[in-house]
């Protein structure tokens, strides 16, 4: 008789038919002559039997209507592509503000990149020159010619 006792994991593998033919035969021979290992095997068999009894007790029929639901879902329209889903999600209420926002961003992006002013820029010297012109004239005089105010640099 083999004096080396198999460990419990080997017995589990034996019960699941996972030992090689030679290992299986050796295990079989050992169990026939070793009551303590045979007891362990019987306990493992009992656990498996209880698991199967538990499964039998809880065995269920396919729920009514499930087959029809599967059929309907399977035959339903195929999944839309990413573009189709995007297009479906974009209503006119969303498209118009989005288009306006894009146009603004493009305009300012373009203008900034090409050096155009963001707002009307008036050279500060314009104000100085015009102030001097106004101060030099007599605004309340009826005789004096009106001072011509210009925004150009050529202004005398």
């Amino acid at each position: 008789m083999n004096e080396t006792h198999p460990n419990i994991d080997r017995i589990v593998d034996y019960l699941h038919g996972e030992l090689t033919a030679a290992e299986d035969a050796a295990m079989h021979a050992h169990l026939a002559g070793c009551s303590s290992c045979e007891e362990l095997r019987a306990e493992e068999v009992a656990i498996t039997e209880t698991l199967r009894a538990h499964a039998r007790a809880g065995e269920r029929e396919l729920p009514v209507g499930l087959t029809a639901r599967i059929r309907a879902a399977a035959e339903g329209p195929p999944q839309a592509s990413l573009w189709e889903r995007l297009r479906a999600g974009l209503s006119p209420a969303l498209i118009l503000p989005a288009a306006a926002a894009i146009a603004i961003v493009l305009y300012f992006g373009f203008a900034t990149r090409h050096g155009a002013p963001l707002a009307t820029a008036i050279d500060p010297s314009f104000y100085v020159r015009n102030h001097a012109a106004m101060a030099a004239s007599t605004p309340f005089s009826q005789d004096g010619a009106p001072v011509e105010l210009t925004s150009s640099d050529e202004t005398p």
């Binding site: 589990v12 593998d13 698991l51 538990h54 007790a57 809880g58 269920r60 599967i70 399977a74």
Partner: protein
């Protein structure tokens, strides 16, 4: 595990019908044992068969259909567990309106039910496939998507847990 598969030469619709007729109940019961409740089991079964319908041409003739559908259910279940951070809803216990033999069997299996619920989802999958579906370690490895060595070690650990838990629940219920 049965090796029969829906016959070749069918069209897509006939393939689906045949698959549900032959394996629908087994699939639903496997899904039910994984999730522990009817609503999630129905959803898993439905989603699995929709995938079968869409990918029916990728099914290899001569291979086990049951292994394939169990693999789909196992993957869907794993994804759903990740999405729900590991928890499925608990089933509301049913009032036992059944013959006395069934009632006694149900009473006996209550400790097992509790013990199974305490296993990790991965351990539960392996125990269900090895001991209830009677799959080989190699089949389980293909279904679960891991090595035979991993199946072996998970099963050993799960059986060790079950041994302790079942005896604890047996003592507490007696």
């Amino acid at each position: 595990m049965s090796k029969e598969a829906p016959a070749l030469g069918m069209d897509q619709q006939a393939f689906l019908e045949h698959a549900i007729e032959q394996y629908g109940k087994a699939t639903y019961n496997y899904a039910y044992r994984l999730t522990g409740n009817a609503a999630d089991a129905s959803d898993l079964t439905q989603e699995a068969y929709i995938r079968v319908y869409r990918a029916w041409e990728s099914f290899k003739p001569g291979t086990s259909f049951l292994s394939w559908i169990y693999r789909i259910v196992t993957n869907l279940h794993r994804d759903e567990l990740r999405r729900r951070k590991g928890r499925y809803q608990e089933e509301i216990p049913e009032i036992p309106v059944q013959p006395i033999e069934d009632y006694v069997e149900a009473q006996l299996s209550e400790p097992v039910s509790k013990a199974l619920a305490e296993l990790t989802p991965e351990q539960r999958q392996i125990v269900l496939l090895a001991d209830i579906e009677e799959c080989s370690y190699l089949e389980i490895a293909r279904v679960v998507g891991c090595s035979v060595g991993t199946v072996r070690s998970r099963l050993h650990r799960a059986r060790g847990q079950l041994r302790k838990l079942v005896s604890r629940y047996m003592k507490s219920s007696s």
